[in-house]
Symmetry: C2
Subunit: 408 residues, 2 copies
């Protein structure tokens, strides 16, 4: 007998039929003797409907009232899922975030979980019930309803799994696992049986939007074994857990991630003095523009070139800020490019293996792909290339690191 | 400066535009220096939408989960109304039933309020906020969400008015007050400026569906002055309060109520022995059929005729039960009629005035209307007549008791 936390997102509970299918899945686990805590999101479309209602009234509603409004979405789902379970003869009880209670801080629309009371859940599980909990929401110490922000249901599931000491936390999605890269770009992409938290973090932040990054961090912190799997098909999915040393033949590279949403800005001829980076990035940060990669090269004439990437939506705004900074600090000029893509290879294996970087650069060179920027961390290497090379770069790297599907 | 509880039903908050209009109304009261606690229902149509979703999953959902589901309806409205108030620059804060908290017993779908915590409300009012509370819902001592059943928002409003010691509780509806009778039947019907709780109870239970009877009982019990008025037009509405002895020229009859939803059943030739009434009505009550009027006449041959009315929906079921009872107890036969209407005159004035009944009977006789049944209480007289006489009976009585609109 195992204890599972199952999380079903909006698409998985998007209609009465799908809610019934979710109930069947839970019933099956119960019939095998397992205990289940189910965390559900609002039915797909419901949150957008509620947001649209609010926007008709106020362009900038207060966050407290938005939380009151949006939290109704999951509350509808928990009751409907319980009904579907009852209909299958499966004992079940629903809880809102406040009812559990999932105590958060008071940062409305982006609250952080502080504490989960697991007494009701354990009592229910003990008496044979399935416990159905509204994802994405909690309550602060004053009784105000809070929400955890986008993807918050994943975080709820992981936090609950940690609190009740679940054996595994299953995240049911519309994909059947984590892939070596995006199958739409490389049809030979393979589903991974396992991946480490750290790799998943790199894959997620680099654009593989299977799991919310915060929930992965959380799972890593509390060592909750996460499994990503499909709501709609059978299959083992991908297990995300800590690296097990016992694995002899750990792949060097686990996957190829990419991100098409970035743009690159360069300030050339910057006087090479202390404090340059903060003079350039300070005004950018002041405008709440997030910076991703940062690279600085020393040029020969006591000046330096400073390059960084931002989200494409912020490109023009960042460019305007830089023009001013550039003239203020006596730099030569500002150039930019928003037709770029970041491609990254990710794998804990590269920690202990030299030569991964050179294999990457050599592979790209052989395909005639010019590298515009490089950035590395312990378990990933990212390059920026022209957007037109996206598919070519991903496919050639996928092959070079042995990630292609094995021939059947 | 007065403290008001305003209650807005589903139609009054049925769209974004109407919610904005409600906000304007509250803003106006605030601008005049009054304090407002607003109680709102789910937007019209929302409850039906949720019920339909539930029914797609289970024909008989558990009441606990129905309460979790339906209580989301008002929760949406409280947040939207607060946004509309904020948009007008009016400080406001929303509360669900659980947040207030409105403590109820655990009778899901028909819970009764046990206690209201008024601390948050008073603190908010004191700091200049409008307090917006979800009607119809509460929470039991275990933290389960409960609902008060149909019309429960009126009850919430009255209970809150009692708890915060409001000067008046305004019930905004789609009519502009309580009328002397249904204006669709008698165009000369007049809006009453005032009516007593007792009269309102008789009017409501007899089919003038302006207010839920439970909320009127509650208002009477806690002496909360109720005012029924229109959400859509300006006007003073009708004040429902205790009779004030000071009024010299109190009308004898305040209104004419009627009910077309009843059917009449008679058992004739019942042996006139003790326990007859319970032998007849016991099996009816056992089947959860509610009985309204009951009349028993002594016949000459030591037998009696026993007549009562039930809701028309229960007519055939009641008839089948009676057929069996009739043969068991050796009565002569069972007859029935579902083409009847009950017409009642209501007024606290009739307590101290003789001759009201005879005026009523004489008026009906002059119109050639045969009275089939009579039942009286301290402040009402009801008669059952053939349904075809409804309009004639109501209009002739309306005129006879001086209720017609004064000539302009």
């Amino acid at each position: 007998m195992a204890l599972y936390v199952y999380k079903f997102g909006g698409t998985s509970v998007g209609s009465v039929e799908r809610i019934k299918a979710v109930a069947e899945k839970i019933k099956k686990a119960r019939d095998q003797g397992d205990q289940v805590v189910a965390v559900v999101s609002a039915m797909s479309g419901e949150t957008n409907r509620l947001v649209a209602l609010a926007k008709e009234i106020q362009t900038q509603p207060t966050e407290r009232e938005m939380d009151v409004l949006l939290s109704t979405g999951e509350q509808v789902t928990i009751s409907l899922l319980c009904m579907a379970l009852h209909e299958l003869g499966c004992s079940a009880c629903s809880y809102t975030g406040a009812q559990v209670r999932i105590l958060t801080d008071s940062s409305h629309t982006k609250a952080r979980i502080q504490e989960i009371d697991d007494r009701k859940i354990h009592a229910d599980l003990k008496s044979g019930r399935v416990v159905v909990v509204a994802g994405f929401q909690g309550v602060d110490e004053h009784g105000n309803i809070t929400t955890l922000g986008r993807g918050g249901s994943d975080t709820t599931a992981v936090a609950l799994a940690a609190a009740v000491k679940a054996d595994e936390c299953h995240i049911y999605t519309d994909v059947d696992g984590v892939y070596t890269t995006d199958p739409r770009v490389e049809p030979k992409a393979r589903r991974l049986d396992k991946i480490t938290f750290e790799e998943m973090l790199e894959m997620a932040s680099l654009g593989s939007k299977v799991l919310q990054i915060r929930s992965v961090e959380f799972a890593g912190k509390y060592n909750v074994a996460l499994r990503v799997l499909s709501s709609f098909e059978e299959g083992p999915g991908t297990l995300i857990s800590y690296d097990e040393e016992s694995e002899m033949e750990k792949a060097l590279v686990s996957g190829i991630a990419f991100n098409k949403d970035e743009a690159k800005l360069t300030v050339t001829g910057v006087p090479d003095l202390p404090g340059v980076a903060s003079k350039i990035l300070g005004p950018i940060a002041d405008q709440n523009i997030e910076v991703d990669m940062i690279v600085q090269n020393i040029a020969e004439d006591a000046t330096t070139d400073f390059t960084f990437t931002v989200h494409r939506n912020d490109y023009l705004r960042a460019m305007a800020i830089l023009e001013k900074v550039c003239s203020d600090m006596g730099a030569r000029r500002v150039t930019g490019d928003d037709n770029i893509v970041k491609v990254s290879i990710v794998g804990v294996g590269m920690r202990s293996h030299a030569g991964i970087a050179s294999t990457m650069f050599k592979t790209l060179a052989e395909e005639g792909i010019n590298i515009r920027m490089i950035s590395t961390s312990e378990i990933k290497i990212s390059v920026v290339v022209d957007e037109k090379y996206l598919e070519l770069a991903v496919r050639s790297l996928h092959k070079a690191f042995g990630l292609d599907k094995k021939e059947q």
